[in-house]
Symmetry: D2
Subunit: 418 residues, 4 copies
Amino acid sequence: MHTLQNLKKKYSEVRQGTEYLCKNISAEDHVVQPIEDVSPPKWHLGHSSWFFEVFILMPYMKAFKAYKPEYHFLFNSYYESMGDRILRANRGNLSRPASEEIYSYRKYIDAAMLAFMDTLNETDTKLIYLIELGLNHEQQHQELLVYDIKYILGNNPLFPAYSEKIPTTENPVIPASDKNEAIRLEEGVYSIGYQGNGFCFDHEREHHKVYINGAMIDKYPVLNGEYLEFIHSGAYEKFEFWLSEGWDYIQRNRIRAPLYWHRIDNTWWHYTLSGLQLLDENIPVSHVSYYEADAYARWKNKRLPTEAEWEVAALQEHEKIPGNANFLWAKNFECTALNGDNKLFGDVWEWTSSAFAAYPGYIQERGALGEYNGKFMINQMVLRGGSYATPADHIRFSYRNFFHSNKRWQVCGFRLAQ
Amino acid sequence: MHTLQNLKKKYSEVRQGTEYLCKNISAEDHVVQPIEDVSPPKWHLGHSSWFFEVFILMPYMKAFKAYKPEYHFLFNSYYESMGDRILRANRGNLSRPASEEIYSYRKYIDAAMLAFMDTLNETDTKLIYLIELGLNHEQQHQELLVYDIKYILGNNPLFPAYSEKIPTTENPVIPASDKNEAIRLEEGVYSIGYQGNGFCFDHEREHHKVYINGAMIDKYPVLNGEYLEFIHSGAYEKFEFWLSEGWDYIQRNRIRAPLYWHRIDNTWWHYTLSGLQLLDENIPVSHVSYYEADAYARWKNKRLPTEAEWEVAALQEHEKIPGNANFLWAKNFECTALNGDNKLFGDVWEWTSSAFAAYPGYIQERGALGEYNGKFMINQMVLRGGSYATPADHIRFSYRNFFHSNKRWQVCGFRLAQ
Amino acid sequence: MHTLQNLKKKYSEVRQGTEYLCKNISAEDHVVQPIEDVSPPKWHLGHSSWFFEVFILMPYMKAFKAYKPEYHFLFNSYYESMGDRILRANRGNLSRPASEEIYSYRKYIDAAMLAFMDTLNETDTKLIYLIELGLNHEQQHQELLVYDIKYILGNNPLFPAYSEKIPTTENPVIPASDKNEAIRLEEGVYSIGYQGNGFCFDHEREHHKVYINGAMIDKYPVLNGEYLEFIHSGAYEKFEFWLSEGWDYIQRNRIRAPLYWHRIDNTWWHYTLSGLQLLDENIPVSHVSYYEADAYARWKNKRLPTEAEWEVAALQEHEKIPGNANFLWAKNFECTALNGDNKLFGDVWEWTSSAFAAYPGYIQERGALGEYNGKFMINQMVLRGGSYATPADHIRFSYRNFFHSNKRWQVCGFRLAQ
Amino acid sequence: MHTLQNLKKKYSEVRQGTEYLCKNISAEDHVVQPIEDVSPPKWHLGHSSWFFEVFILMPYMKAFKAYKPEYHFLFNSYYESMGDRILRANRGNLSRPASEEIYSYRKYIDAAMLAFMDTLNETDTKLIYLIELGLNHEQQHQELLVYDIKYILGNNPLFPAYSEKIPTTENPVIPASDKNEAIRLEEGVYSIGYQGNGFCFDHEREHHKVYINGAMIDKYPVLNGEYLEFIHSGAYEKFEFWLSEGWDYIQRNRIRAPLYWHRIDNTWWHYTLSGLQLLDENIPVSHVSYYEADAYARWKNKRLPTEAEWEVAALQEHEKIPGNANFLWAKNFECTALNGDNKLFGDVWEWTSSAFAAYPGYIQERGALGEYNGKFMINQMVLRGGSYATPADHIRFSYRNFFHSNKRWQVCGFRLAQ
């Protein structure tokens, strides 16, 4: 739990971080929405401010005056409790309010929040929790901003670069021998889930026991070069490796490679946030659907780990989340070469074979904040470990991310188990 | 495992059972397909024969001559390994071959199968297994026939009856006190999955350990009368009880009650296979989607059991599957009043909160038969316990049925846990 | 106008004709609806009876008792004035009432109608008109029955035959020289539209003047053999011949030939009501969309005639509709070889370049019968001349048929002009 | 035909006019595409330049260097002859190239075009024609820019204004008596179509004779106030006034008033380019579909005029297009009150009952420019007269505009005939 002093500092850092991510994009980049999953950057900027406004300032700060009432309609995402909202698919039509206006809105909210935090004391635990929740929420939108900016630029016929830095993997530091090693989990009873008194999401609780039937978990996620073999083996044409839904999905969407991969004159390129680059075979594969991850595993006669196996492996391998993991503020904006120390965190979110479901003893938050996670516990798969778009101070061993099995615009890869 | 003698007897019984189910429907009833989920009865009659033809007779019976080659195209369901097939949505366009022709096809296959079984001996275990699989497959289609005939007749504006018998529940035998009791599961390690050397599907294995965090499982499934309270409380209008997908689903499909329920002049009726009847409040609710089951549970501040909890509860309550459970050949064709002996089997398949996934150590069958279950392990939920449309000798404690969360034409209800 | 005596005779003939068309199809053929455009034969049998019941017997025959009230819901086609009706796309789900039941319904209506006609006298012109309308309506459904039966059988993988007779064109009687001749229309003012006091549809009136700017109209419609050249020239791959909508249409629906044409091992076959046959190059092409007719014309540097040009050409060439034209009761059920006498009638309906619109002075009928034609005067094209599925006594020089430009299950071909 | 001197002047005027229209919108307004019909303003700016580049500069100007080859992919609209192009629905995803970049592109093209025109002489008629075509094309895009900007701003929840000027109709100058007068057309032969040697589109030719069966054409289009009576009469709920397609269309799209009309607390407002305003009852109704125009006419027991009737009426009433007609460069950006002099031009395009089709003797242009009009001659209706978004020097008596019957984002109204 943050002290109040830390909280103000963290508030400023997080809020500035969000704006930092939008520094290199144009006014026009702020507004477009090429697919429904993607939200325009200006919408993220507004929505993350709206969250503080409607969940904290309006109910709890006396004398607070709403910035503009119509923003409550424009920047509500999916909270049925918070009234009507613009259709998700229409977010990309909002040329007004201008992005500049939204930056003013952010300033207004920031001033109010900082003033409001000055009025709190350490016993206002509920409010402190809400502020932490708002910051964690904004960090999730930072991650989404990276996905969405990548999608906006990476689907533009001009393939513009977002970042100057070009990640290089000339010297991958994992010894080949190490690559093939696995983490062994002995059969038995283990515990997973959040334990402690810091911040976590409701669905990380309760800390509870699970039975692991013994497993070998790969030390590293699958790399682009390995995935290329899967492609070249013709696996996208062979139904026997695919889930039935997955086979339909790749036919219907004519998918023959991860998102952002382009074969040009027999050479493979991938769009990265540094522009179109030759495919780097030494970094983890990313932007594959659950279907593709599962098919790869079947092709290898292996399987994906469950989320419990993943968490137990992480707890066994790492005392704490490694400081050199490739998270957002390393500003690589792409996967990097693996190294020997860090095995389970950063680079890519990893698909697990577990459907997103309530843990034993799960209690959904009441009211609008209960809409945060609990209502998505169907037909989504859990991903673990964080990506190069995840803020390092946002993630935990018990952190559960979740997406539908057909999504791949998020930074997602996978590792194998058996 | 059946002896060969038993197997021939069982073969004849199962095959006749299928035809028995179609005895009361007209030639025209045999052909229609009102929605894609429903297959025309004639298609089931042909497909279950095709299964024996292509998986047993053609590869293993010397001198067998295929009935008509075009039937291989017409009656393949989803086996990619077995070549092209008619689009599922087009099954209802097949006015030819005539149903009569398909009954001739069945006779042809039956004669061949009986002759073929005479050539086997007890050591032909693989072939005996395949025949058992074919019979289990046909029993699954018996169950589907009941669902599909109910859908065809129950969506006809004339609401014709299929069965003369009108189930009555005048004297429900559960004492009210008993209704509220629950089955207590102590926290600890248990085992589930198939154990033994009889027939089971690949996905019921391996028998393995699970950790149960302690639970109370209702003794009986939710009844129509209880579900009516949920409806009358206005729960279909209150988003807070619904999964996000479920809320969309009931809006988009304008769902306000289980399938087959009709409110006519303020009185509730339900279509049963005996025609349109006053809603019977004393029988388990059926034909609800997973979304509705989950919403009901939230409305009650409870939850659905996991499939492991369900199986452990069944093993704890019953030594064997109760003989008086309401299964197919009781020929009730509807739920019946509950009685004190039987708690977990028959009447309705029960939605669990578990997504259909591989058990530890699961090995998918090779070849076409591997397409039976393994390729559906995504975005489907497990149901347990069997229904009034399930043959009693088809089910097991470890039996795992699975459907998508939006389906409700199958006979599905649910029980609560906490 | 018919005398009453004639009318009774015609009534019986028409009604029996409809049933004759269904004599060779099975009970199961009666019920299916492979696409929304096609109605199940049993529906046509019911609907054409419903028309007499609700427009004549119920309002005008004292003591008439409706056969079954629910039939009014089942057999209304599109008459908003006549109350609710079953969704068009659900017609194919009606396994009940059984076809037999519908034949009983027909008998009931026929008995009532014949009794009712006995009570009329020659001055009951409005009622006589309504009966004639009912018979013309039923003749239209005879034509649709032929289309729909052809679609049901012709899209069945077994390609069953409907008719025993196999039309032959071994000796086409048009001299090749004649084939290339054209009908010359001099520039000037002409009259078109219905003139006289017999029966016609509201949209054939008023008889009115039109200005023809001079034209040459081909003597015969385009033949299969000619159309084959168009295909072999690669025209389906060249956008420059196609209307923009047409180009989209053939891409989206992967159309590369007329409906019912099949290329098998480099040979062209076409499904006819006599089963799958080698393509007959000497008969008019049929089952092409307006888009294909238009593209063919552009490919030939010609155009389609307007409906006024067509009617003026017909009036100029023929004194009356030729008795040897290939209409329904010749029972060919397919186009036949052309002969020198008949140039504009029978074989195929011919697409014209005229959109279906009101003639000057058009007065839509009041009430439900006004829904017959007037509400379709948008986005449909006029076809002229009748087909092998049109009863000869149903057509007139002024007869205007109309379909959407993307439809081709009707018997439609075209001729060129310039 | 323009002299070369005039042409350069007109070139500059038209090109500046386009940019003038975008002066008052923001960078973000330039990029969005709320519906597929609407193109982002930046796309219009680029596409109208592309037209000069690919049809004139690249083929005819020696030493011309394409600005950027990728622009040929980005700014092709629908010319199949000109190669691949971005999907229409994806135009709104193009945050890059920036609008600023596109203004640079325009400058580059303008410099080249002006230099190129200096090299021409009066005998280069083909090139002069192409330049005129390019300017007419750009004027069409000026009109589309007005529609699209109105749609972008008018569907924004903030309803921002585009123009400062608020049109007022306090003093409508048509005497009420005049309003009810009609233009009488005597029965007989008339001529329509383009005649002369100036610029016209291919589909305005040939000048040809038509027969008019006599008609009364209203002197003025239907006004908002009159249309309000239609709404208040409940006509949107009464199928009997509607084309069958129209009835489906208003149900499916929940249409109960013209586009841009809003009923707020029982008062009618309409969005105009000057922002949300009280509905002005004295100006012509606009933004109605063909279906609504046709339904209004049926409700009044009248009909829409044919395009021939419209053109004959215009030729009879006006010697030349009235100078005071409300066209684009009056900069009203909205309909204005009618006045006695001008009856048929400006304010709103008027739906006619004529489908867009080839005139007798029509010859489609060869090559890519042939894709301009001829390929749209199906399922579209002709509109006549020009609107407040049409440049006055763009229109002619013979000018034929055309849209699908369900479109209403263009400035369209209608007048009645009988």
